[in-house]
């Protein structure tokens, strides 16, 4: 028997499984107070899903407010936090929308589908802003490379991202792959999408116009992921717990491709008043959000939803997370044209509801009322927690346990072997085994892609205007000091965008943490959000939106606090971009910024000594801002041939990557007064390696001097070093002072062998 509103009114004492659905007793009572009766089972399902951590952000809201409160003043933001994705003005009448989201827990359970549907979800978010999705990126984190479970999840996740993204026709232009013990059992799959539209095409998720129709279109609704959102993302993994329905969503990228084309056509034909994608919490979310943001009322005939599985109950239909579905608000006059365009693309569409100004969201099932709620209480007025947090008692000891006593290589031979070991370290090794499974060329506008510093795409084929994006986070720095770690993540992403020649404009973030019920994790979250908000204000780039993923832990051990920061920048003409590959012989290699003895949380300490302790490198955001301006000016004014940020693995890693990318050797030397080991492997922030033609050298160094940015000439590009170093003519060599030489072939073997060796069968 259907649990109708009438039945609920008549049976106030009927026990309800609110705890199994993840609601606390006080939350359940609040629902009863809102409705002035007990909720029907459908209403209970809606509230339980929409008030889950993943959908309501109940543990994070109080901290995320800072992004709005501390937002730097900027003209560039067209749509701020609160909508599906932020929208940034990049000039020339173009607007760009971008966002990063997580799909961590589903990817642990079913790597291929979890990652695939993660891509699908973020692409629909971008689509629902009115933009054509143009590119994707994937920051990934796994347990140790050689752990059995990494062997289980990594190939599936990579295949899923490639399988879905390639089939959609979106180039993958960058991302990260990081290995660390703390991610074993809790891999992180963050997916970013960027899209563009003309200013006038921006659409918002609101249901306006009394009498307008609510159209559900796309894939049919089935039993995918029922309870997935609240069950998986709001609890950590434990043993047992059978489920009747699959908790994993299965994606169909072909359907999403059709959805993209149909949606863009109806948007450009002006047939849509409001639009929303169906992600976490499916129909419950779409209807309650659209209703809240519009006239305030909506009526839904749930039995009109096209089903893949006729046995689904109304509660299950409301909670289903079947993929590739969108919801549009269409005027009655436009309905036929809307349906016709969907038909052209063989996309099913059906009217399931109507906008009204009743201030209520009502849902009928075969003529019986099963939901009657104020939509704002479902979508926007969920619980807000002020979770307790405190600095972990072990934090001081961790910060005091610095890396200064770790044995360091000092002889030339030791430095040489350290270099070869470092470039082969899983975190520093080439990721091409992974990235070659992604299409980087489709759409024909990819200007820079991995392993460049940032992914860059051309937006305007006539003017050459483009955008660049980088995603970064060093979780080790964040564990040592979450506040500084977040600022360092922002700094690195900002620096990477500037290094490509683009002006940083806006920020998105994916905040991956352990359980918010653990006060120490909550402290990490509070500190990281504070650091990111403060950092954004200082750098003048606002947060436009993002995502929080909690409960990334198995048992009592959380992951490293991992606030992934994505920065987007704009470049007037992509032709001016600065790649990392250096140019012809004789060009000069400069190191910009100050190098200090800073090894806490470094890849050297991690890979060589398994050590994590001390204070992370100093984050000087004024210096980062200056460095960024120099990098952009150097690019725009043609002074720089190449630029590469310095981060993991220090200057040595940057030089090796530039050499391997260009296939040409170089002679580098250690500046006076600095220890070679420090110069090569320290991870001080605020630095970049740039390459300058001799004819531009004076102009460039004068610019740096005038702006007071330290610039040290540390090398010269040289393809003829082979014979002097004892090799055949033509052999490309990296010569480091009078310490050692190493051929690019040797470096390539070390750098490219690590990941392929484990996965290529």
């Amino acid at each position: 028997m259907t649990d109708t509103v009438t039945h609920a009114e008549q049976s106030p004492e009927q026990p309800q499984p609110f705890a199994e659905l993840g609601l606390k007793p006080d939350e359940y009572q609040r629902i009863r107070d809102i409705l002035d009766r007990r909720p029907t089972s459908s209403e209970l399902a809606m509230y339980s899903v929409m008030w889950s951590e993943h959908c309501s952000y109940k543990s994070s809201k109080v901290h995320l407010r800072q992004f709005g409160e501390k937002a730097p003043a900027t003209d560039a933001l067209l749509v701020g936090i609160g909508e599906n994705a932020g929208v940034v003005d990049i000039g020339g009448g173009w607007a760009v929308t971008f966002k990063v989201e997580s799909h961590n827990h589903p990817s642990f359970v079913e790597p291929y589908q979890g990652a695939a549907t993660g891509v699908g979800g973020i692409v629909r978010d971008i689509l629902s802003m009115g933009a054509r999705p143009l590119a994707v990126m994937d920051p990934l984190r796994f347990g140790p490379l050689d752990a059995p479970d990494t062997r289980r999840v990594l190939p599936g996740i990579v295949a899923g991202i490639g399988g879905y993204g390639n089939c959609l026709g979106l180039p993958n232009i960058g991302g990260e792959v990081v290995f660390d013990e703390s991610y074993l059992g809790n891999p992180l799959v963050n997916a970013l999408c960027v899209g563009a539209m003309r200013h006038e095409d921006i659409h918002l998720a609101s249901a306006r116009g009394v009498g307008n129709l609510v159209v559900l279109y796309g894939a049919r609704t089935g039993g995918d992921g029922i309870g997935g959102v609240s069950v998986l993302a709001s609890e950590t993994f434990s043993e047992g717990g059978p489920t009747k329905r699959p908790s994993v969503q299965v994606g169909d990228p072909f359907m999403e491709k059709l959805l993209i084309e149909a949606t863009l056509e109806v948007l450009h034909a002006g047939l849509v008043e409001g639009i929303q994608d169906l992600g976490g919490a499916g129909i419950s979310c779409a209807t309650s959000e659209l209703a809240s943001n519009g006239e305030g009322g909506m009526h839904v005939w749930l039995d009109r939803v096209l089903l893949r599985d006729q046995s689904l109950s109304p509660e299950e239909i409301l909670m289903s997370e079947s993929q590739e579905r969108m919801c549009a608000i269409v005027t009655p006059e436009n309905l036929d044209a809307f349906l016709a365009l969907c038909g052209k693309w063989e996309v099913e569409a059906v009217v399931i509801g109507e906008v009204n100004d009743s201030g209520r969201l009502t849902v009928d099932w075969h003529g019986e009322r099963i939901v009657d709620v104020p939509p704002r209480t479902v979508a926007h007025e969920g619980p807000v927690y002020e979770r307790p947090y405190h600095r972990p008692p072990w934090q001081d000891a961790l910060q005091a346990d610095g890396p200064d006593d770790l044995p360091r290589p000092s002889s030339a031979a030791d430095l040489r072997s350290t270099l070869l070991a470092m470039v082969a370290a899983p975190n520093l090794a080439s990721k091409s085994w992974i990235t070659s499974q992604y299409d980087r060329y489709v759409l024909g506008n990819t200007v820079l892609a991995q392993p460049e510093d940032a992914g860059m795409i051309r937006i305007d084929e006539v003017t050459g205007r483009g955008v660049a994006i980088s995603t970064d986070c060093n979780g080790r720095f964040a564990k040592l000091d979450p506040y500084e770690g977040a600022r360092l993540a922002l700094a690195e992403s900002y620096r990477n965008v500037a290094a490509s020649g683009a002006v940083p404009l806006a920020v998105t973030n994916c905040l991956n943490f352990g359980s918010p019920e653990d006060p120490e994790v909550m402290w990490q979250f509070a500190e990281a959000t504070r650091g990111l908000a403060d950092g954004c204000l200082e750098l003048g780039v606002p947060v436009t939106g993002g995502n929080v993923s909690f409960y990334n832990q198995t048992g009592g051990t959380p992951i490293l606090p991992t606030p992934v920061v994505g920065v987007l920048g704009v470049i007037d003409d992509v032709d001016r971009r600065t790649p990392i590959a250096w140019g012809p012989d004789g060009e000069l290699v400069y190191l910009l910024g100050d190098t200090r003895d800073e090894f806490a949380g470094s890849e050297w300490a991690h890979h060589v000594h398994g050590h994590l302790g001390g204070l992370p490198p100093v984050a000087d955001l004024q210096r980062e801002r200056l460095l960024g301006e120099i990098l952009v000016a150097g690019s725009r004014d043609g002074m720089l041939t190449a630029a590469h940020d310095v981060s993991d693995g220090g200057v040595a890693q940057a030089l090796v990557e530039m050499a391997l990318r260009s296939g040409v050797g170089a002679r580098v030397w250690i500046p006076d007064g600095i220890d070679p080991f420090v110069l090569l492997f320290s991870e001080s922030a605020g630095r970049a390696v740039v390459v300058v033609a001799r004819t531009e050298e004076l102009r460039f160094t004068e610019m740096c001097a005038a702006r007071q940015l330290p610039a040290y000439r540390i090398g010269v590009v040289d393809s003829g070093l082979g014979p002097d170093a004892g090799y055949d003519a033509g052999t490309q060599v990296l010569q480091v002072g009078d310490l050692f030489t190493v051929t690019l072939d040797e470096l390539a073997v070390a750098h490219e062998g690590t990941i392929a060796a484990l996965f290529a069968s």
């Binding site: 390639n166 959609l168 026709g169 072909f254 063989e346 299409d439 489709v442 024909g444 290529a760």
Partner: protein, 226 residues
């Protein structure tokens, strides 16, 4: 008036816009053709672009092959209309039996995107006339089902008649028999190619501009014959 080259869009086609861009850069007029329309609108040549038509469901190109536009295209191709099938387009041409053989899952079982070195071995086809015989080029390759297979007799026939248009060099990325990257029909107006010349037409976005000659070849041959 420049020659008109049709580019067909099937549900799931992805590189149609890129093929159109390549046609434009080569100096032609790109005409969008819809899979459901059996009218070829008087185009002088047709490109079947890359992508995942119908999601690659059933088999790559197996469903697209029955589209209304294909019925007209098969007739026109038999009558001499130049047709270039790129990647998914090559798969559709094989499924339609305009070209022999079939494309199967990469032997590595992975999708691979790489800048691929090729040798152009036959320049008698309408689509490769602007290359020099034996010319080595680098153009992007990106596929998961690119392994060209045919029985020995067919392979010998293709080799013997000079119908292998392009061959993989240095690396065989998908297990194609005899390293075959592209073939032509007997007449030379229909060419199937696994790698993507339309992604190598601008220095800014491709590894080279080596792919442009596929498009200039057909335009030049059309101008010459008009």
């Amino acid at each position: 008036m420049s020659p008109r080259v049709g580019v067909v869009t099937f549900p799931g086609s992805l590189d149609d816009r890129d093929a159109a861009r390549a046609v434009r850069i080569a100096g032609g007029e790109a005409v969008a053709l819809w899979h459901g329309d059996d009218d070829l609108h008087g185009v002088d040549a047709v490109v079947l672009p890359g992508g995942f038509s119908y999601g690659d469901y059933l088999r790559c190109g197996a469903i697209a092959r029955f589209a209304p536009v294909m019925a007209s295209l098969v007739d026109a191709a038999k009558g001499g209309l130049p047709v270039l099938g790129i990647c998914n387009g090559f798969q559709i041409l094989c499924e339609s039996h305009l070209l022999p053989g079939a494309l199967t899952r990469n032997d590595s079982l992975h999708f691979i995107c790489r800048d691929q070195r090729l040798r152009i071995e036959d320049t008698s086809s309408t689509w490769t006339a602007d290359y020099a015989a034996g010319q080595e080029i680098v153009i992007p390759l990106k596929n998961g089902e690119g392994g060209f297979v045919a029985d020995e007799r067919t392979l010998d026939m293709l080799e013997g008649e000079g119908r292998v248009v392009a061959r993989y060099l240095e690396v065989n990325p998908n297990g194609s028999r005899r390293d075959i990257a592209g073939i032509r029909n007997e007449r030379g107006n229909v060419v199937g190619l696994m790698p993507h010349p339309e992604h190598a037409v601008e220095e800014l976005t491709g590894p080279s501009t080596d792919g442009l000659a596929f498009f200039t070849s057909v335009l030049n041959s059309l101008v010459a014959s008009s």
